[in-house]
Amino acid sequence: MSDSKMPLYRTPTLDPDVMETWSSYVARFENDADFIQQQVEQGVMVTTFDRLVGMLDQVYNWGRRSSIWPLGFGLACCAIEMISTAAGRYDIDRFGAGLFRASPRQADLMIVSGTVTKKMVPQIVRLWNQMPEPRYCMSMGACATGGGPFKEGYNVVSGIDKYVPVDVYVPGCPPTPQALLHGLIMLQRKIDGQSIKDVSWYRRGAVEEIPVPILGADLIDLRRLPQIRGGAAAPEPVAEAAEAAPVEA
């Protein structure tokens, strides 16, 4: 905020005596709630900017964490458990996250539910880029987290976090609905810890697009283009190291 021309707020000019009594005044209250209660009863609130923002954060975060709209986006087996979580028995709606949106433009949370393949990863990155901030990504299951049982496959990306920043990892193959709900609660906890003062999406230029990878001879990550250009002709190390390793009989 230092670079902006106009400060967003003015520090209230208070009498030095008042300022001095302030901390001792606040210390009289056990916690914030009592303090706020006291202020409300007085009909006037005197507080510091940080405390004000803290109160605003609570409302702001409460609203956001209670209505996380996931993207209706299923990849593989985990998607079946995701749908089960949305249905009657587990009822993800209790956590306010039951409104699966068909469009990424309306979604807050991308649950990467299943194996991320090289053929699919450009589309996933594009979907992520289309989601507006604040947005969160949950990596559901072993495949999305690190390739899982299919890690060695030639068409498998070993983890969506190679392309999209992940907020919560949910282990399991597939995770049970309970595990997914636990992941959601963890995400809510993460949201609760954020403050309107320092979240990235209110800063200029903070949101950057992830370059959509290209399908060439293999998956091409555009961020590594110079390396690919320089290094494609390099010899393959592949199995030499493994074969050279002595094997105990």
Binding site: A86, T115, E152, A217, R224, G231, V238, A239
Partner: protein, 585 residues
């Protein structure tokens, strides 16, 4: 309409036919030790026509390829709609320039399967109208299922991987195996310049469009190509349809798949025999135990292991419960697509959860059960299984089906959207190699459980459900009928199940499968699931091929969809009820 069985017809005897056909064709055809017909490439269409026209082998069940050290061998499995086993035809192709005549003119169902063989093995099919990659993308380097093609994380040909224990200690370092500390690999001297236009971030779109235009060279100005999927709420996963539209009417449809291709077969050829069992769960993840049974059955045939009585009953109970929950899911997902969004699903998932409870209490997992073993099952049923299963089968599920039936079947919107849409005539259904409810809804009473009974299905009293119409509504009704038939089988199985052992054969640390090959198939909720396994006597399969019913059923999607509106295509796709884990494998 519930048609009576196929028992009246004489089932085909594969050995007789093979001998007769070999005699007719003269020197061009020989029989190998597995009873398969080995034919010269040039004579393949003639032989297949002969088998189709004179021996009633009118159904191309499976088409795949094996990479032997000296040759590529394309393998065809032909069946008869009259029941009985299959005849195997093999064609050897040259290792350097493999070319085999295409069968698409005789069996249109060979279309996608031949494209898969081209993609995975690089075997060209002369005369194929559209021989392009199907699971990988155009431009991918190499044909990955070849034995000499090594992926970036390649360590050794066979598991268990000794390189994971270099000095007697566990070593976790897949990422160090590749140049890029990643699962990527570029051919030597690969130049990225040609592909990448750095000015455009969405380069991939241009690549896709170019391919689409190449596909339709005679495209007219008024037609529009629309890419539907892979991210679309009604594609049942990551499936893409490339629609050529005239206004709202579908003129042509190209299925584009591979977005969920996770290299099941390549990994399966490295795994130990038993190590593939948990992977089969992840094929059609709505019919886990059916897949496991198919794989176990095939390996048991090769090993010649007998399955104890109790285990057979447990398998039937598990497979039929799987079918019930899968069909419930399929029906309600179809209703999702035609506008009854999620409400029918809520009803179906409520029942499905109860069935999953049974799986969980028996196998320890809701979805990925990993329950069957070669020669039986892994665990016996827990004591609380039978009371709950009886309550479900006798009281609860039947009512649930009736409830679904009464709410949905005569609903006006359901009828309007489903009847007369997506018609697949019976001849076309057979020639396109469709199977399962899609085939039976076209009036063909073909069910592997009846045509070539496996397990103990010949002991139960049940009917093959068919409908004559061949439209979406017929497929819906067939599924509904099959839930009822499954409950009928379940009632008998639950009443008859004996006590006894659950595993047959000798106990062994390492499973030895004698050299040979076998194509085993089961009737899964989505159709005929086949496993073509080749063993060379090693600890892992030499070839591990999955004949996926959804994948083959999709061959007929274009024919069903032409002339309908875009919204109907969504419903038609829903009525095929694909599961992408199995389509792309």
């Amino acid at each position: 309409m519930i048609a009576s069985d196929l028992k009246a017809m004489t089932p085909v005897m594969p050995a007789d036919i093979a001998a007769k056909a070999a005699a007719r064709m003269g020197d061009a055809v020989t029989m190998d030790e597995d009873g398969a017909l080995v034919v010269e490439a040039a004579k393949l269409p003639a032989l297949v026509r002969l088998l189709r026209d004179e021996h009633h082998l009118n159904y191309l069940s499976n088409l795949t390829c094996v990479d032997w050290p000296d040759r590529f061998e394309t393998v065809y499995h032909l069946c008869s709609m009259q029941g009985g086993g299959q005849v195997t035809v093999k064609v050897a192709a040259d290792k350097a320039r493999p070319i085999v005549p295409s069968l698409t003119s005789i069996f249109p169902g060979a279309d996608l399967q031949e494209r898969e063989v081209w993609d995975m093995y690089g075997v060209r099919f002369a005369g194929h109208p559209n021989l392009r990659r199907i699971l990988m993308w155009e431009g991918f380097a190499g044909h990955p299922m070849r034995k000499d093609w090594r992926e970036a994380y390649y360590e050794q040909d066979q598991k268990p991987l000794k390189s994971r224990w270099p000095n007697g200690e566990f070593f976790f370092g897949e990422d160090t195996l590749s140049n890029w500390a990643d699962n990527i690999k570029y051919p030597t001297g690969y130049a990225a310049e040609g592909l990448i236009d750095e000015g455009r971030a969405d380069n991939n779109i241009a690549v896709i469009d170019a391919a689409a235009l190449k596909l339709n060279p005679d495209i007219q100005g008024d037609h529009v190509i629309v890419n539907m999927g892979p991210q679309h709420p009604s594609t049942h996963g990551v499936f893409q349809m490339r629609l050529t539209l005239d206004g709202e009417t579908v003129m042509d449809l190209q299925p584009v798949m591979g977005y969920m291709h996770r290299n099941h077969e390549k990994i399966g050829e490295r795994n130990l025999w038993l190590g593939n069992m948990p992977f089969t769960d992840r094929l059609d993840y709505l019919a886990q135990l059916g897949n496991e049974w198919g794989y176990a059955l095939t390996v048991e045939k090769m090993m010649e292991v007998a399955v104890p009585e109790r285990a057979e009953y447990i398998r039937v109970i598990m497979a039929e419960l799987t079918r019930v929950q899968s069909h419930m899911w399929g029906i309600t997902f179809l209703l999702n697509d035609i506008g009854a969004f999620f409400t029918p699903m809520m009803y179906a998932i409520e029942e499905r959860e109860l069935i999953l409870d049974l799986f969980e209490m028996t196998t320890g997992s809701r979805l990925m059960c990993n329950y069957m073993r070669f020669g039986g099952v892994a665990y016996d049923l827990p004591p609380e299984f039978m009371p709950m299963a009886r309550t479900l089968v006798y009281d609860r599920l039947e009512k649930a089906v009736d409830e679904m039936d009464s709410y949905l079947t005569n609903n006006e919107i359901v009828r309007e959207r489903m009847q007369g849409v997506g018609i697949l005539p019976p001849e076309m259904a057979i020639s396109y190699s469709t199977s399962g409810p899609v085939l039976r809804a076209s009036g063909v009473p073909y069910d592997v459980r009846r045509a070539e009974p496996y397990g103990i299905y010949d002991r139960f009293d049940w009917d093959v459900v068919t409908r004559p119409e061949g439209d979406i509504f017929a497929r819906y009704m067939v599924r509904l009928g099959e839930i009822r038939e499954s409950l009928k089988i379940l009632k008998q199985a639950l009443a008859q199940i004996p006590e006894g052992p659950i595993m047959g054969g000798k106990k062994a640390w390492q499973i030895r499968v004698p050299a040979g090959q076998h194509y085993g198939r089961v009737e899964n909720p989505r159709g005929e699931l086949g496993f073509y396994l080749v063993s060379t006597g090693e600890s892992n399969p030499y070839r591990y091929h999955v004949r996926s019913p959804c994948f083959v059923n999709l061959t007929a999607l274009a024919e069903m969809s032409k002339g309908h509106k875009v919204a109907d295509v969504v419903a038609i796709l829903g009525s095929i009820d694909i599961v992408l884990g199995e389509v792309d494998r």
